[in-house]
């Protein structure tokens, strides 16, 4: 009865989907043509599907809306939301950037600005396209690699902050879904084990 077992696994969704003529259901349809037992199961599922589709909706009592509004009016105005320029998804990266900037400023060598003239800055910018070696050499001459580390640190902290905040944004939603999924699986396994044990006795 392996064939039936397989059929039973997909028959519920097949009937619920309206018995579509999809290739994935071809073997199921063929099986239904030959197996009276599964055909009877399909018939029962059709009856259930039909009944569920016309299941009456509970109508709210007539005075419900006026009663809600009477109570709402007695509450007064809802507390206004505190004024916020940005949502936290925006301001966390901004704070991360500010921290990166602060670190950059604190770790900046005292003689950096005085030793780096506008002429040197200009020559550095001119050397940038296509000349990585030419880009690094002025740095060394200015601050003995310190400028490089300042920029590197600030970029690292900024990126870490942005990454952390984006992770936080999805963390609770995903964690809840993940937990629910595993609770369900665990419940399923336990139930099956319990059913087997009960049937065995």
């Amino acid at each position: 009865m392996l064939e039936c077992d397989r059929a039973r696994r997909s028959i519920v969704q097949y009937i619920a989907d309206g018995e579509p003529a999809l290739p994935v259901y071809a073997s199921l349809r063929a099986h239904l043509g030959t197996c009276a037992s599964c055909r009877a199961e399909a018939e029962r599922l059709r009856a259930v599907e039909g009944a569920l589709r016309v299941m009456p909706v509970a109508a709210p009592p007539v005075g419900l809306a006026p009663e809600v509004m009477r109570r709402v009016n007695s509450l007064g105005q809802p507390p206004r939301e505190e004024w916020r320029l940005f949502s936290w998804e925006t301001w966390v990266p901004v704070v991360a950037f500010a921290v990166a900037l602060l670190i950059a400023m604190i770790s900046m060598p005292a003689n950096l600005l005085s030793s780096m003239t506008l002429y040197e800055l200009e020559s550095t910018l001119r050397a940038l396209p296509g000349q990585a070696g030419g880009w690094l050499s002025p740095m060394e001459s200015i601050t003995r690699n310190e400028l490089f580390w300042v920029i590197w640190t600030s970029l690292f902290v900024t990126m870490a902050g942005v990454g952390f905040s984006l992770s936080l944004r999805n963390l609770s939603r995903e964690a809840t879904a993940w937990l629910a999924e595993w609770c369900d699986r665990l419940t399923d396994v336990t139930d099956r084990a319990w059913q087997r044990a009960r049937n065995a006795h």
């Binding site: 599922l45 009856a47 259930v48 569920l52 589709r53 709210p60 709402v72 009016n73 939301e81």
Partner: protein, 191 residues
Amino acid sequence: MSDQDPLAELVSRCQQGDTVAFAQLVAATQADTYNVAYGVLRNPQEAQDMTQEVYLRAWRALPGFRGESKVQSWLYRVTVNTCLNRRRRLRKDLVLVDAEDALVDVAARGPSVPERVTLKERNRAIWAAVARLPEKYRLVITLFYQQELSYQEIADGLVLPLGTVKAHLNRARKALAEGLRLPEEGEDAGV
């Protein structure tokens, strides 16, 4: 806020404290909210009380609603949470029935349909069996068939994985169908 949400403008006015807009929002959504509350609580008076409670909570919380989902989905979530909390309090002194045992019970007792019945009688019997389904199965049945939500909308509203929603629906359908089995059909096609 989604452009497709026809209630978005009402929500925006509610957030400014417009009670007329809130009355319109209540009028537009009360049937769905009440039906979901009834689906969870199975008691008209409780469903009515909880529907009122849902709207009072919504009125307080709307200023913080940021439109990341449709307001109707948000209301479903508030309704389900409010009603489930209420049920837990109501059942505090009752003997809790395991959800899977109850599902097996529905399948075993079935809708009590005699062999020859009219379609109307059979449907009534199936609806009555739905009322006996465990809460988590009854809830997805209510949202899928009565509120006509998609699998994804139910998953979003109940904060459940999509696969769990489908699994709950299929297990409920299977239990209801199993209950329609006539005694002489026996165990030939055990599930």
